[in-house]
Symmetry: C2
Subunit: 329 residues, 2 copies
């Protein structure tokens, strides 16, 4: 049975919500959950609950404001540091946390190390494309200053993840850029194009308005641009729903129409809800680390554990190692 | 009466569409339109039409694939080059073109020069925020590699434009970033923050999902990130409408609901249509240049001419000169 450590502190929601996510996962999948956090609180939540659980007691929590360095140096008794240490010691197969991204990255790099051939790990996230398939974006915030070489490594790791975990047979990789033609973009994009075109599955440049149409399966970019991209796609979508709602409420027939639409709209909102899309893997470290959204509810945590489980079963780390050896000898 | 040159070649649409936009503008505003392009074609369109028109004949067109250097060096008889030359010679007060952005930028820089104190001009575009007001984004693609100093100059120019042309009393400037706190972001964002915080109207960092909520009036970023941002907001919005449409069509009540909603939806689509939002000014050159979207229809061209007219009447170039002298002595 696989064992997954869940960091119950450091998210925006109270630990109880995270613990409920772990319980749901233990009941849905055949998996053992190790909660890192406040022992008493966790024990209270687990009372009378069936499932395979254990606890790593932690007396400190990483907050959203803690700098990565702070987290590593001064919070050695935090649920994040103790959880990652237990992972390194082989006490579990994966680690899931809704904490501060920078802190997870720093602690993972320090305690787990990088896969041979990877200079910087990247955070990947899957978005729902209109085709019904997922589009993987890497990096969405781990590395704000990148080299073309970093982007090539993201491309290889993203390809492996997309094929092995998302089940896409021949994933196409696109370079996020501001025009379709070769030669477009800033220095980083121009440099990355020359490296990426050596990959068999390189599609070429992809512009941000095409991403949700599913032209490519993997989108490669630096973490600054990737983070702006992700939040802009989300912002554009939410603003549209908001404006639509206001426009509709202004007319009589609009109100009746939206009343008739309410169940369709509910289905739609569920579809675009980030809690359906699970966690974002930190690719390139020598173990499986899944970053859940800071405001993850129980369902999002359960889904992030599902992503972790799938990554374990497919031997993700070994497959990335093999992919990197092949493409970046 | 103000005179505005309209480049009829180089857009995605046929020249006839652009010319119709110029005719509409001449009929709506008290303005003289000078068309640059194919004389015969323009004359045919103007036959029997009332209004104050003239023509600059051009035998070449800049295409979307022409590199900026190509445009400047080898297409001296193009509607773009001849139009900008006529502007420089004082034959008109502004120039409007739906051609290739890089080419417009290169020709304008070469022929018109920069405002004193501006290292690189920037392209600004106004988006509709949910508040009903506009949010100005600068730069959306003129400069893909920027310095913190460039971003400060964009902030000053954007503030002047927002106040004078968009009529916002005390425009707030936000720095596009991937977190709200000081110290977030890549080297460029960190460097720009230190310069921008000296401006009276600096709000701080703004994340991309907040932009359409109107937290700030001016968003400052480099042209690579700005272009990704703009297209992602658009893509997120359009994908949402598409997915919503498909979701609705799947249920019986959804179909009836959407039938009742059709006029509200039409109003909504008009609201977010880019043709309502006119052209994007190239700020920082020593004359008024308005870049219309490549796929501008007649209405979009008319609106871009409206933006040009308003810029002339408010003495935009002089006001930017004054703003720059004050902030960047």
């Amino acid at each position: 049975m696989e064992t997954i450590i869940v960091d119950t502190l450091g998210g925006d929601n109270p630990p109880v919500e995270i613990i409920q996510g772990g319980i749901k996962a233990a009941q849905s999948y055949n998996v053992k959950i190790v909660f890192s956090g406040d022992r008493r609180l966790i024990e209270r939540q687990l009372e009378g609950v069936d499932g395979n659980f254990s606890i790593i007691h932690a007396s400190q929590a990483i907050t959203m404001d803690d700098s990565p360095v702070e987290a590593v140096r001064h919070k050695r008794e935090s649920s994040l540091v103790l959880g990652v240490e237990a992972l390194r010691e082989g006490k579990a197969d994966a680690f899931v946390s809704p904490a501060n991204t920078g802190a997870i990255m720093a602690v993972s790099l320090l305690k787990l190390g990088r896969i041979f051939g990877i200079d910087r790990p990247g955070i990947a996230t899957a978005l729902p494309a209109l085709t019904g398939r997922a589009v993987l974006i890497i990096d969405i915030g781990a590395n704000v200053n990148c080299t073309p070489q970093n982007l090539k490594q993201f491309a290889v790791m993203g390809t492996v993840y997309c094929r092995e975990i998302l089940g896409v047979k021949n994933p196409k990789v696109g370079l996020l850029n501001i025009g379709a033609e070769r030669g477009k973009g800033n220095k980083l994009a121009q440099g990355a194009f020359s490296l990426l075109e050596k990959l068999e599955n390189f599609y070429g440049n992809i512009e941000s308005h095409r991403i949700l149409w599913g032209d490519v399966d993997v989108v490669v970019c630096d973490g600054f641009v990737g983070n702006v991209l992700l939040k802009a796609l989300e912002g554009g979508s939410l603003a549209t729903l908001d404006l639509l709602h206001k426009t509709i409420q202004r007319s009589f027939w609009g109100k009746i129409g939206s009343f008739l639409l309410r169940s369709s709209l509910r289905g739609f909102k569920q579809k675009i809800s980030s809690s359906n899309w699970g966690g974002a893997p930190l690719l390139g470290v020598r173990d499986i680390v899944i970053i859940a959204h800071g405001n993850s509810d129980a369902r999002a945590i359960k889904n992030a554990i599902g992503v972790a489980l799938s990554s374990i079963k497919h031997g993700l780390v070994e497959k990335i190692e093999r992919g990197i050896k092949k493409e970046i000898p």
